[in-house]
């Protein structure tokens, strides 16, 4: 139920990455209606590495990406894990202020990590062996998960 692959963190690879998620999601027979937050978070995390990560590294980062699905009790937890070789950066440390109620007051930065924190159940970050490792996960609604995924 886990798939891992490597790719270069180039923004023109985003379409390929989204197709990989779509194919894996279909193979796992996961409910299409619950894919949206994972698409959004995967795009956000990938684009962060492909822009800020590359800038900090002074080159093109290499990413290892894993999609996972595991049975938790009678539910199903889907996880996305990204590992990159950019300099250490913990997105969870970023200060986020989304309080503006007028366009001119609204900051552009911080939206992505705020959405990631809100849409996912768990986010873990570590810098190990010279790599940023971030894993996000969320439990899917049980009633829409096919029995084949849950087992008996």
């Amino acid at each position: 139920m886990t798939e891992s692959f490597e790719l270069l963190a180039e923004t023109n690879r985003l379409g390929f990455l989204q197709e990989k998620l779509q194919s894996w999601w279909c193979e796992q027979e996961l409910p299409e209606a619950q894919k949206f937050p994972f698409e959004l978070v995967l795009e956000e995390l990938f684009v962060n590495v492909a822009t800020h990560g590359n800038q900090q590294l002074g080159g093109i980062c290499t990413l290892t990406i894993s999609f996972g699905c595991e049975r938790i009790d009678s539910n199903c937890r889907v996880s996305l894990a990204l590992e990159d070789n950019a300099p250490p950066f913990n997105p969870l440390d970023a200060e986020i202020d989304l309080s503006g109620d007028r366009p001119a007051e609204k900051p552009i930065g911080g939206l992505g990590i705020h959405l990631t924190k809100t849409l996912m159940d768990n986010i873990d970050y570590a810098f190990l062996n010279g790599c940023n490792q971030i894993t996000v996960s969320k439990v899917l609604w049980r009633e829409e998960i096919p029995q084949a995924v849950l087992g008996d």
Binding site: E39, E43, V47, P103, L111, G112, H114, L115, T118
Partner: protein, 109 residues
């Protein structure tokens, strides 16, 4: 992503169709800004055919909303699907881009 733009009275109606993510954000932002430039009273983004919006896509809305505020015209959105609506709500964008159920409600506000 296809973007359909039309005029209804003093409003410009912009209808993005499909996904609005990182790959589509720059072109969409340009279309939104051009609509703001042309609008007499305001711009309504009809999201009925918008299936996906990411933070990069939201930035297109924000930049256009700032341009509209500077010009003194309205910038709103309508007919959001549940996924897109949840992104607007979680990010607080529903406070800076007024959300309506329909184009007629948006242009009447």
């Amino acid at each position: 992503m296809e973007i359909i733009t039309r005029t209804e009275g003093r409003f410009i109606i912009v209808e993005p169709c499909g996904r609005l993510g990182f790959d589509e954000a720059s072109a969409t932002q340009l279309d939104f800004e051009q609509a703001v430039e042309r609008a007499e009273a305001g711009v309504v983004v009809d999201c009925a055919s918008l299936s996906y919006v990411s933070p990069a896509g939201l930035r297109a809305f924000l930049v256009a909303a700032k341009a509209a505020e500077t010009k003194g015209v309205s910038f709103s959105a309508c007919s959001l699907g549940s996924d897109v609506a949840s992104v607007f709500t979680i990010s607080g964008f529903d406070r800076i881009v007024p959300i309506f159920d329909s184009i007629s409600e948006a242009t009447a506000a």
